[in-house]
Amino acid sequence: MSTLAACQADFMAQVLEDGRPLPNGWTPRHAAGLAIYRNAYRARLVDALRDTYERTARWVGEDAFCAAAAHHIIQTPPNSWTLDHVAEGFVEVLEQLFANDPEVAELAWLEWAMHRAFVAADVVPLDAARFAAASADFEEEDWGSLKLKFLPSVHLRDMGNDVAELWSALDSDDFTAQNYVLPEPTPMLAWREGLRPTFMSLTKSEGQALGLMLDGVCYGAMVECLANAIGEEEAVMQAGAMLGRWLGNGLIAGLN
């Protein structure tokens, strides 16, 4: 290792770790300067997390959020050039730290999904007319093997809490803590409409169907899966209606 590489490795360790012995020849004045770099490092990363997880921070409170952020930064020091990546993995950290309050990680998941949607690649979604043209010559087996390519901004997950309601409540200055637990898990969809990230709750069956298609399952297999629960005729009708909604909401980028 070159002298400079060794110097930088040691300096980085000083920034990351409190209480590390100072390099030879360093004085208390060096320590004071180093403390500024150390504080700036931590403050910048916590600010980046707070910027992405603004509502989560409001929900758990400043002290708890800072403690969770510090835990995340220590556990997973950043190694990417972009500050955006600092926010990766924070949802999983919150799942561990707030195991008895699952709405915290669910709210954080939605904020992270909305953030990713905000800067996701620009893709013109397939509209109903273009889809009709593309599928005009489909035979039955073409429908069965149809796979969909979704916009890169599309994210889906089941929620045990009414995070949509919690999200709205946190927009208010005087929100009050209350119980947001749902009677049963409900799928939450986040994506971007034009330039605006958005989200909506889905029915259980639509969430299941969309999840399958996002995972690369073909349309026929998705319909079969629905049919197991609601019968074939109803499944075909519901799947068609869902496909129409996905097209209408601009979720589909193309056909595979």
Binding site: A32, A40, P78, W81, L83, D122
Partner: protein, 282 residues
């Protein structure tokens, strides 16, 4: 490597708080400077907004993550993204800082100081050659503010910058506030610094505010969260007299005020530059 023609105007950093002003109005500036990394994304509103601003004004790309002083070399994925953005924007120029931000294992997301040694100079020059060849254009590098110096230092910062510019053909972004902050923190003369800079290589000046030092160490911190102080304005006047017309901008990254306040500060820079220039002619 093709040189960078001088461009003497007055600009501001493009910040989210002022997007609407720049998109809908005619803001009286000659250019805007962006933080490159904020727009090195796949798509969405940041890039769409920037495209609209770019259709009205020249843009300078100012980066914080190139880590030109990294002993481990440069990040190719970063350079690729930076080049893609430059191809989209056709900026006046691309700049970054004389500093390092990462090792092979970690990224500090902070502008960390380099020891000013012959070894570091050689490494930085190699990295600048790499970056400029990759991007196909000469770059500007900014003098950092710093809070410590290394016992190993073999030369002054301005000597390092001068030799770096001579060897690589890069240009300099002179941050006058950073000169003041580092001069106060390390006890050198800001006038010596200005006199030691190769004036012909400076293509841009940054002006910003800093946080005063606190007892017992009185270390000034480059926070960009307040207006430019009188001492920095005085140093800017000296820089203008020495350099002649150079693109100048106010850099505010925190506690961002309404746009008119920054424009008033920029007007003050115009007045100082105008007063100082006859000294060059004389």
């Amino acid at each position: 490597m093709t040189g960078i023609d001088p461009f003497s105007g007055f600009g501001l950093g493009l910040r989210r708080d002022h997007y609407q002003d720049f998109v809908t109005g005619a803001v009286p500036v000659d250019f805007v400077e962006i933080i490159s990394e904020n727009y090195m994304v796949d798509g969405g509103r940041p890039l769409a907004t920037l495209d609209r601003v770019r259709s009205k004004l020249p843009v300078i790309m100012h980066g914080v993550s190139m880590s030109i002083g990294s002993a481990g070399g440069l990040d190719t994925e970063y350079l690729t993204r930076l080049k893609q953005l430059a191809e989209r924007l056709e900026p006046l120029w691309i700049s970054d800082h004389l500093c390092w931000t990462r090792t092979s294992a970690h990224n500090s997301h902070d502008l960390l100081p380099l020891p000013y040694t012959a070894e570091a100079l050689e490494l930085v020059c190699d990295n600048i050659d790499h970056a400029q060849n990759f991007l196909g254009r000469a770059m500007l590098f900014e003098n950092p503010s710093s809070y410590l110096t290394f016992p190993e230092d073999e030369m002054a910062e301005w000597e390092f910058l001068s030799e770096m510019a001579r060897r690589t053909g890069c240009y300099l972004l002179l941050d006058v506030n950073n000169i003041y902050v580092s001069a106060q923190n390390h006890g050198f003369s800001a006038d010596d610094y200005l006199a030691g800079i190769p004036a012909g290589r400076v293509r841009q000046i940054h002006l910003a505010g800093h946080t005063p030092g606190q007892e017992p160490d009185n270390i000034l911190i480059d926070t960009h969260d307040r207006e430019v102080c009188d001492e920095v304005w005085q140093l800017y006047a000296k820089a203008c007299a020495l350099l002649g017309p150079v693109a100048t901008m106010i850099e505010r990254d925190d506690a961002i005020p309404p746009l008119p306040e920054l424009l008033a500060e920029l007007d003050h820079a115009r007045e100082i530059a105008l007063e100082a220039q006859p000294m060059v002619a004389a």
